[in-house]
């Protein structure tokens, strides 16, 4: 059953990334140089929608919190994000979209994957000497803004119901997606 879901969900996610333009490096680069916000709008609304529905389903008790998986926050998270950001801008790919673009037949995406394998290997090789440095000093640990009900995760805003916290952020993301223009210089529209 799990293999079946892996194939089905992976196919769907790959299909979606290709169709929304995320696997096209031109689109990524144009988003990052603030020229084309099509993808930004898709990403913001995608996060907003999934978050809103996730916390609504949790609040209604339709699903339980057993599948949630919150990653730890430590110094390396924003730093690693910054290094990824450089690679993302230079190539126009990130790990997921590179894989999908290779599937769509892009030759540069294959080279990206080779570079990625080399980068991951380099990290594997030096991890032993990095693991007790400041890079892995905690910066909040496994924390969420909205209450998840999972004991090992810290809640940062516990005075409000989870759906109110996650819902407000989600609405903010969706509003932002709505008001951003499709392209730089365009009048605000929502086409």
């Amino acid at each position: 059953m799990e293999m079946f879901l892996a194939i089905l969900l992976g196919l769907f996610f790959g299909f979606v990334l290709q169709k929304c333009g995320a696997a096209n490096p031109q689109r990524i680069i144009d988003m990052l140089r603030l020229k084309d916000f099509h993808l930004m709008k898709a990403i913001l609304s995608g996060i907003g929608l999934s978050s809103l529905l996730l916390f609504a389903l949790l609040a209604l008790g339709v699903i339980d919190n057993g599948n949630l998986s919150v990653k730890a926050s430590y110094v390396g998270v924003p730093l690693g994000g910054a290094i990824l950001g450089a690679g993302w801008a230079i190539s126009g790919f990130c790990s997921g979209t590179g894989v999908v673009a290779a599937g769509a037949g892009r030759k540069d995406a294959l080279i990206f994957i080779l570079g990625g394998l080399a980068g991951a290997l380099a990290f594997m090789l030096i991890y032993g000497s990095l693991k007790s440095t400041f890079l892995f000093s905690p910066l909040g640990g496994k924390a969420t803004l909205a209450e998840t009900g999972v004991e090992k995760y810290t809640t940062l805003v516990s005075s409000l119901p989870a759906l109110a916290v996650a819902g407000s952020i989600a609405v903010l993301f969706i509003l932002l997606a709505w008001i951003l223009p499709e392209r730089q210089g365009d009048a605000v529209d929502s086409k």
Partner: protein, 194 residues
């Protein structure tokens, strides 16, 4: 439905709804989507094929496997276990993503030109038609992207999308770091490009 399958590119609303659905379905049915760990797992598989002692069965480890490599060995041999069992959910998920990209591009009504398959227009207008230059750049880009996401413990999918969906602090920190560097790098590098 026809448009959904065959359109070259969806509108931002369809894209957002479909992206949201993919991330939601994954966490409802199995677990949040993540990709970058699988680069480590594939590296580990290749390494293990070249030298069979890379991953060994170890009953003392909480996941039943251990490795002389500190990264594969971490969290009780969690990654070592995945290396030993290629047919695990997360790895097959990423393989299936390749298939998803293939399917979507095959169904596309107007396939992109040959040149476009390696050199984006913005790249050509800035750095010319030589594929080797582009390949060198994407190799470096790939190196940085995966090195960075391993340092961060996740990538755009795992931290940014899945993380912010759960309102995880790490997701916001990661997104901040990524955009704070990606935006100026893209603006400077592709200044005046098409």
């Amino acid at each position: 439905m026809k448009n959904f399958l065959f359109q070259t590119q969806w509108s931002w609303k369809t894209s957002g709804a479909a992206l949201g659905l993919a991330f939601l379905l994954a966490v409802v049915l199995v677990k949040p989507i993540g990709v970058s760990t699988q680069f480590v797992i594939l590296d580990g598989m290749i390494w293990n094929a070249l030298s069979s002692k890379t991953v060994v069965i170890d009953e003392a480890a909480s996941n039943g496997y251990s490795s002389p490599n500190a990264y594969l060995n971490k969290s009780g041999g969690k990654y070592a276990k995945s290396v030993a069992h290629p047919l695990n959910y997360s790895f097959v998920f990423v393989l299936a993503m390749v298939g998803g990209g293939f399917l979507a591009s095959r169904l596309q009504s107007n396939r992109s030109e040959k040149k476009e398959e390696a050199l984006p227009a913005v790249w050509r207008s800035r750095f010319g038609d030589s594929p080797s230059k582009r390949y060198a750049a994407v190799f470096i880009g790939g190196f940085l992207a995966l090195f960075g996401s391993r340092l961060a413990g996740g990538c755009t999918s795992g931290h940014m999308m899945s993380g912010m969906m759960q309102t995880s602090l790490s997701g916001y920190l990661f997104a901040f770091g990524a955009f704070a560097v990606a935006v100026p790098v893209a603006i400077l590098m592709f200044k005046g490009g098409k």
